[in-house]
Each structure stands twice: as structure tokens, then as C-alpha cells.
């Protein structure tokens, strides 16, 4: 592949230039980029909402917004961040882009379905956006009945439909992934030669396919109940509002694993590459993803310990929650052990990966506090929970997402970002993140409830700290946005394997050609086999040609 082809090599980005060639593309790589643009927009929106209410929280009394505005802001923040950013983040962007490349195939099994999923998702997102523009939603992202079904005085139906529709986008992606992984692996690529990224996406897709329909029907029931004013969860008819919570969390707990498993996949790739070692206990790590996906379905009641759920049911959910922590623990230990005896380089993606390990550990361990029933009684619906889930979601998945984005950036865009600014950004984000969310553990245990616009003065100090931290965090993201955009135009051209990584995606030029591979890939080596000489081949000439 060391050919000195004509100066302008055709690849998936420059193969065609019209707007239509993007909007009607069936190329998984382009669809991945479409998703990237969409979800970054939602991330920005959700982030802006967070900054707005963080500023409000600097004082215990209402300062510059009314309580109704505050409620709409955190609801918008939760809904956009979860449904329109984090759930599609890694699967729909990196997964879409990389799955066929890693499997050595030309495309996903159903390219048209893939494109349709983006349209469906975007349409759902627009409905969600519409609900915000036309006055907002004030139910919290959890839509608890009967508030959402009868009392809320806001655009619940529109938002509900948005989530309902976006859910089908995610189901389409999930089905596509499972079929592709089953049926389209390159010759020689057996299950236990698959990258852990693929395993993670396989597990994630199982959750998506079996879980998402339940949130769809649940949220649809809320919309129907509001629209036609018929009772479904309405206590006035003997309906049970707690039943809604069962159905909601049946999806939304597994959904938190949709929000972490792909991140774990990314981390495995990065750690292997930057320590030049196969992941310690590869099989265990692969199978633990499946264990999390399956066990994770049966712990949803841990969100309902004080909801008046039966104590016995609570105990079942509690013990299962503890058990699902074990496979996560195994993964963390295996990553750490992988570092032992490696050749470690702290490039930007690796900084994100190491940040992930630390922050996910803290977030996951505080999940154990929450799963412990007696402690849950005290900290449920306080800032302790807020801190927990930001540690796993932002400290975990968002870190993994950006880590992965940096790792595969040269592959996706054909350009290098500035390593110096990359490292500055990563460190700023890490520091800002901890400053923002660590104080929230303390303020939560002290008893400050979440979703509070007005709060007692004794909590102010910690809240101000948190707001300060969030400014640092936002600055970190801003730096990142700056140098990434810069690199698109002025970045150094990337070779096919700039990090010296193992994996089929690194054997094809950056950016890859539309059909992904010029020669049909064949795999006759184990995953992460860093002893192979090909990996270290110098491909600098290729860049000049590209």
C-alpha cells in the first residue's frame, strides 16, 4: 500500500461533493459523521442549559430566573444529554464508522436502514427541540406520573413523541449492528479475535433491541393518557403511578449500560494501543460485557427503593445491583493489569482513557452506596445521585467518547490535531470535572435534594465551588472544539496507522476509501497482537502521497 498514488487520492470524504451526496449517502462512514454533527449540537445545547442553571445555583435564592424556567432547563438538560447525546454518542458515531472497518467488510448489513435511522433520530431530536422552543418541558427527564400525565403544564406530548421516535432510530442501529457482527465478519475473524470494541457494541445492541421498545411504549402511554385524557396511570381511577416507574426504569436502567458499555469498548482499544499490549484477560473482558448487558436488565428497581415498592422486591433488586458491579470491577482490574509491563505513551487519547478509569471507578463505587438500601433511603433524589451519575456518564462515557474521537480522528478526517492542545484540553476537562461534581457528593449526603431551585444557605459554599468547576470544564471543551476545528483545515496529514495500532481499521488509508478496503482483508492473528511486525512498518511516505 506504499504506493505513491496521484496527489489527490479519492476517499470517502472527497468522493462526491454535493449536499445530496451527504444527505442520501448509504456509506456508514458518512452516516457516522452525520450523527456526529447532530449529537454535538445536542451536547452543546444540553451544556448551555447546564451552565445557565449552574449560574443560577450560585445563590440560595432565585436570582435571575423563575422556578419554572429552572425546571425547564434541567429537564431540557437531562433529555437532550441522555436521549439525544449520550445514548447515540459512541454507538451511532464511532460504532457506525468503525464496525465495518473493524470487521473487514464494506458496509453494515442494512445501509438503507442505517440512513433511515439517522433521519428517524434527527426527526425525533427536532420534535424534542420543538418542545423546548414552544415553551419547554418541566417534568424532569424521568417523566414521573401523575405529574407528567395530568399535572404538568408544558409540552410533554411533543417531548414524549420525540423520545419515542428517536428510540426507533436507536433500535434500527442496534439491529443493524447485531446482524453485521453475526453475518459479515471477514474471513478468519472468529468471535474471540474480535476487538473488544465490537464485543461492547454487540452487548450494547442487545440492550437496545430488547430494552428500547419498552420505553417507547411507556412514553407513548403517557402521551396517550395526556392526549385523550384517558386513565392509565391515573390514581383517580385506581391507576398506579408507581407502575410507570417500573416500566420506565425497565428501559432506563439498562440504558445506563447503553451509555457505558461502548465507552468501555473504546477504553479497551486505547489502552491496548498506547501500552502496546493485548488486554489482560481478553476473554473475561469480552464476556463481562455480555454479563453486564444481561444482568443489567434485572436491577431496575434500585431506582425505586423509597417509591413504596415492596421491600422484598427491593431486596431482589438490591442484590442484583451489587452483582452487576462485579463484571465492571473485573474490567477495571484488567485494564490496570494491562498497563503492567507495557510501553506506555501518554498521548491525548490515553489521557482520556486513564481519566476514564479513575472517574468511572469513583462513579461506579458510589453506585454501590446507592444500591445499598439503607443508604439509598438517605441519598435518593439528592445531589449524591447527581454526582454519581455525572461521574459515570460524564467522567465515564463522555471521556470515552472524546478519547475515542481523538483516537480515530486521524482515521476519520485524515488529519492530526495538535497534540499539545489535546493534552491541555484533556487535563483541563479532568480538573474541571472533579471540581464540578465532587462537591456534589458532599452536599448530597448533607441532604440537599436535587431539582432544587431554591436551597438553604448552608449548602451555598459547595454549590459555588461546583459552578466554578463547571466553568473550568466548559473551558476545557471550548479548547477542544477550537483545536479540533483547526485541525480539519490545517492539521498535519495522517498516515494509515499513525498510532501504530493493531486492528483492521488501521490497515486501510486515512481517510478510508468509500469501499473501505482495497484488498479483501483476511485475519490470521489474535486481537491486539502487538508482536506483529506489520504494525511498526513505517508508513511515512504514504502520507506524502495522500
Amino acid at each position: 500500500m506504499n504506493d505513491t498514488s496521484p496527489p489527490k487520492r479519492t476517499h470517502y470524504l472527497n468522493a462526491q461533493h454535493t449536499v445530496g451526496s451527504w444527505l442520501f449517502t448509504l456509506d456508514h462512514k458518512r452516516i457516522g459523521l452525520l450523527y456526529l454533527a447532530t449529537i454535538l449540537l445536542f451536547f452543546l445545547l444540553g451544556g448551555i442549559a447546564a451552565m445557565l442553571f449552574r449560574v443560577e445555583l450560585m445563590t440560595p435564592d432565585p436570582t435571575y430566573m423563575e422556578s419554572e424556567t429552572y425546571n425547564r432547563l434541567f429537564t431540557m438538560h437531562g433529555i437532550t444529554m441522555i436521549f439525544f447525546f449520550l445514548i447515540p454518542s459512541i454507538p451511532a458515531v464511532l460504532g457506525n464508522f468503525l464496525l465495518p472497518l473493524m470487521l473487514g467488510t464494506k458496509d453494515l448489513a442494512f445501509p438503507r436502514l442505517n440512513l433511515a435511522s439517522w433521519y428517524v433520530f434527527t426527526f425525533g431530536g427536532l420534535l424534542g427541540l420543538g418542545s423546548i422552543i414552544f415553551g419547554g418541558v418541566d417534568t424532569g427527564w424521568t417523566f414521573y406520573t401523575p405529574y407528567s400525565s395530568t399535572y404538568a403544564n408544558s409540552n410533554v406530548i411533543l417531548a414524549a413523541l420525540g423520545i419515542f421516535i428517536a428510540g426507533f432510530g436507536s433500535i434500527m442501529t442496534g439491529i443493524n449492528f447485531i446482524v453485521t457482527i453475526h453475518k459479515m465478519r471477514a474471513p478468519g475473524l472468529t468471535w474471540f479475535r474480535l476487538p473488544l470494541f465490537i464485543w461492547a457494541h454487540y452487548a450494547t445492541s442487545i440492550i437496545i433491541v430488547l430494552g428500547t421498545p419498552v420505553i417507547a411504549i411507556t412514553i407513548l402511554l403517557v402521551a396517550i393518557e395526556r392526549l385523550f385524557q384517558i386513565g392509565i396511570f391515573d390514581p383517580a381511577l385506581g391507576g398506579d403511578p408507581v407502575l410507570f416507574q417500573h416500566l420506565f426504569w425497565f428501559y432506563s436502567h439498562p440504558a445506563v449500560y447503553i451509555m457505558i458499555l461502548p465507552g468501555m469498548g473504546v477504553i479497551s482499544e486505547i489502552i491496548a494501543c498506547f501500552s502496546r499490549k493485548r488486554i489482560f484477560g481478553y476473554k473475561v473482558v469480552a464476556l463481562s460485557s455480555l454479563a453486564i448487558a444481561i444482568l443489567g436488565f434485572f436491577v431496575w428497581g434500585h431506582h425505586m427503593f423509597v417509591s413504596s415498592q415492596s421491600m422484598y422486591a427491593g431486596m431482589i433488586f438490591s442484590i442484583l445491583s451489587f452483582l452487576v458491579a462485579i463484571p465492571s470491577a473485573i474490567k477495571v482490574f484488567n485494564w490496570t493489569a494491562t498497563l503492567y509491563g507495557g510501553a506506555i505513551k501518554l498521548d491525548t487519547p490515553m489521557l482520556y482513557a486513564l481519566g476514564f478509569i479513575g472517574l468511572f471507578t469513583v462513579g461506579g463505587l458510589t453506585g454501590l452506596f446507592l444500591a445499598s438500601m439503607a443508604i439509598n433511603v438517605h441519598v435518593h433524589d439528592t445531589y449524591f445521585v447527581v454526582a454519581h451519575f455525572h461521574y459515570v456518564m460524564v467522567g465515564g462515557m463522555v471521556m470515552a467518547f472524546f478519547g475515542g474521537l481523538h483516537f480515530w480522528w486521524p482515521k476519520m478526517t485524515g488529519r492530526h490535531f495538535s497534540e499539545l492542545f489535546g493534552r491541555i484540553g484533556a487535563v483541563t476537562i479532568f480538573i474541571g470535572f472533579n471540581l464540578t461534581f465532587f462537591p456534589q457528593f458532599i452536599v448530597g449526603y448533607l441532604g440537599m435534594p436535587r431539582r432544587y431551585h431554591v436551597y438553604p444557605e448552608e449548602f451555598q459554599f459547595l454549590q459555588v465551588m461546583s459552578t466554578g468547576g463547571s466553568a473550568v470544564l466548559a473551558l476545557g471543551y471550548l479548547v477542544m472544539a477550537g483545536y479540533l476545528l483547526h485541525s480539519l483545515v490545517l492539521g498535519k496529514k495522517a498516515s494509515s496507522n499513525p498510532w501504530r495500532a493493531v486492528g483492521l481499521e488501521w490497515t486501510t488509508p486515512s481517510p478510508p476509501p468509500t469501499e473501505n478496503f482495497t484488498t479483501e482483508p483476511y485475519v490470521d492473528y489474535e486481537a491486539y497482537d502487538y508482536t506483529r511486525e506489520e504494525v511498526y512498518r513505517d508508513d511515512a511516505d504514504e502520507v506524502k502521497g495522500a
Binding site: 481478553y282 470491577a329 494491562t338 510501553a343 505513551k345 486513564l354 463505587l365 452506596f369
Partner: protein, 314 residues
């Protein structure tokens, strides 16, 4: 030491507060151990095994089954301890002793109403005697709320259409925060109050109504006091998000209703607004005001009217 600790945990004012904090510190211990262990190992490995040349090829990974088994079993044992400990405490929290004194609690947007066995009731305040087990029997008139007293480490959702309960044994005298912990709409964060733990004697006197100095107050003062106690101020408050109309200047003025008609706000109108708020809805407002029928005596209504009237006189 104790002082330092006190800035990280709320007051321990019920008999299981200390138990729960103990479990909490156990978990903090385990967490710190693993976080520090992993953090230190990562830092150590990163330094010790840093890449020295671009071309370095480390030895391939060797899987060690004993290690895998070890770090499966150890966390497994730890989480089982956590589960048993947490569930046992929870079981205790769930079952009130038979001799507990029962207080009835109703939540509604956005206030708490407590009814004592003696018949006395309170709004947003809960007065209880120290050292006596208290059981709360709770329900909601509208959406789900949650009765949360951090100093007692108790919390229980209050669900419309059914009764839930919660119990505690206060061990310290003083006033402690009461919060609504389940999001319930616009003024969720104003749905809070205080739990006053007093001595047995004080409580008995209070429950009989001895402390009521209402007799010594003018009707306007008594009305103002009621206005705060009953939670009217939550909605009829010029400062906050104002769920209800501001009442200054109301008396004697002409009020436009959502039917398009107008009425003069006289005593009769105000009385009706308090007892039958749904009868006439002021233009531009939602019909969300709860009825106070059965909660206020006729005398108290008169006091309220006197107070609202006084707002128009200033």
C-alpha cells in the same frame, strides 16, 4: 475531629442515623481503598513502564487465572457484606414498632399538612417529642412527593391513591430540615419546612394547644400568622414565581374571572376563594389552589380575611 466530620454529614438526630453513617463510612473505606489502589497502580505503571523509544516492543500479555479469580471473589465478598448490612438496616427502617405514635401527613403542591393524634394540625412544621417512636402515615392529594428529613436519614415517597409510611425515633432536640425530595412541579424546592423535636412535656402542652397565644393577637396578626402557616404565602407571594395572584390591593377591587365576568372582591368572595377555590377562577391563573375546607375554622377564615383586607389598607 467531630467538628470536621460534622461538615460532611448532617446532624444525627434519630436512632438509626448513626447506624447508617457507620455503613456509609464502611463504604467510603472500601471505595477509598480501591480508588487509591487503582490510582496508585496506574500512576506507578505509567511511570515505570513509560515508552522509552518509539520502537519499543513490550513482552506479550500473559493471562493469570489466579488473579482473575481473586479479583472476582474479593469484590463479590465485599458486595455481599454491603448488601446484607444495607438490607438489614432497611428492614429496621421499614417496620415501625407497634407503640409508635401515628401522625398523618398529606402532601400537596406545595405544602405538607400534618395531623396529630390530639387533633392539632400543622402546615410545613412537624412538632414531635424526643425519644418517642413516631410513625408517619402519608398520602398525597395530587402528584408524588417525598418526605425527607436528612437529620433522621428517613425518606419515603408520598403517593396519590395509596398510603405509605415512614418512621423514626428522634434522639436530639432541635429544629431540622424537612424537604420534599420528589420533583413535584414549579415550587418543588419551596415545599419544605422544619421538624421540631421538643421535650415530652413541651409536646404534650403543644398538642393540647396550650401554647397558642392566638388569643392575644389581633385578627390581622392572627391572619398573617395563618397565612404563613397554611402555606398561602407559597403561592401568593410577590417575590417567587407567583403561582397565584398577589393579594395586596385585592380587597374591594374588581376581579375579572376566566369566564369573562367580573366580581367585586368582598368578604364573601374571599371566603369562597379559600373554601371553594374552584368556584371562581381569576383570569390568567390556573385552577390549582387547593381547598381549605375542613382545615380552617370559621374564626380562622375571618382572621385570614382580616389580614387580606389589611393588605389593601396600607
Amino acid at each position: 475531629m467531630m467538628n470536621l466530620l460534622a461538615s460532611f454529614i448532617p446532624a444525627q438526630a434519630s436512632h438509626f442515623a448513626a447506624d447508617i453513617d457507620r455503613l456509609y463510612f464502611f463504604l467510603i473505606g472500601v471505595s477509598m481503598f480501591f480508588t487509591i489502589l487503582i490510582g496508585m497502580l496506574v500512576i506507578y505503571f505509567v511511570i515505570r513502564f513509560r515508552r522509552r523509544s518509539d520502537d519499543e516492543r513490550p513482552a506479550p500479555t500473559k493471562d493469570i487465572v489466579a488473579l482473575e479469580i481473586g479479583w472476582t471473589i474479593i469484590p463479590l465478598v465485599l458486595v455481599i457484606i454491603m448488601f446484607v448490612w444495607g438490607a438489614a438496616l432497611f428492614y429496621k427502617q421499614w417496620r415501625p414498632p407497634a407503640d409508635a405514635m401515628e401522625i398523618l401527613v398529606t402532601g400537596k403542591k406545595w405544602m405538607w399538612k400534618m395531623q396529630h393524634p390530639s387533633g392539632r394540625s400543622e402546615i410545613n412544621d412537624l412538632t414531635v417529642p424526643v425519644g418517642r417512636p413516631i410513625r408517619l402515615t402519608m398520602t398525597s392529594e395530587d402528584v408524588i412527593h417525598s418526605f425527607f428529613v436528612p437529620a433522621f436519614r428517613t425518606k419515603a415517597d408520598v403517593v396519590p391513591g395509596r398510603y405509605t409510611s415512614s418512621w423514626f425515633l428522634p434522639t436530639e432536640k432541635g429544629s431540622f430540615h424537612l424537604f420534599c425530595a420528589e420533583y413535584c412541579g414549579a415550587e418543588h424546592s419551596l415545599m419544605k419546612g422544619w421538624v421540631h423535636v421538643v421535650s415530652e412535656e413541651e409536646y404534650e402542652a403543644w398538642a393540647r394547644g396550650d401554647d397558642t397565644d392566638v388569643a392575644m393577637l389581633t385578627p390581622v396578626e392572627a391572619g398573617q400568622r395563618l397565612f404563613n402557616e397554611l402555606g398561602c404565602v407559597v403561592c401568593h407571594n410577590p417575590a417567587s414565581g407567583a403561582m397565584g395572584p398577589h393579594l395586596a390591593g385585592l380587597f374591594g377591587s374588581e376581579v375579572r374571572l376566566n369566564t369573562g365576568r367580573s366580581v367585586i372582591a368582598d368578604e364573601e368572595y374571599i371566603r369562597e376563594s379559600i373554601l371553594e377555590p374552584m368556584a371562581k377562577i381569576t383570569e390568567g391563573y390556573q385552577p390549582i389552589m387547593p381547598t381549605y375546607k375542613g382545615q380552617v375554622s370559621e374564626t380562622q377564615v375571618m382572621h385570614l380575611i382580616a389580614y387580606i383586607r389589611s393588605l389593601s389598607e396600607e
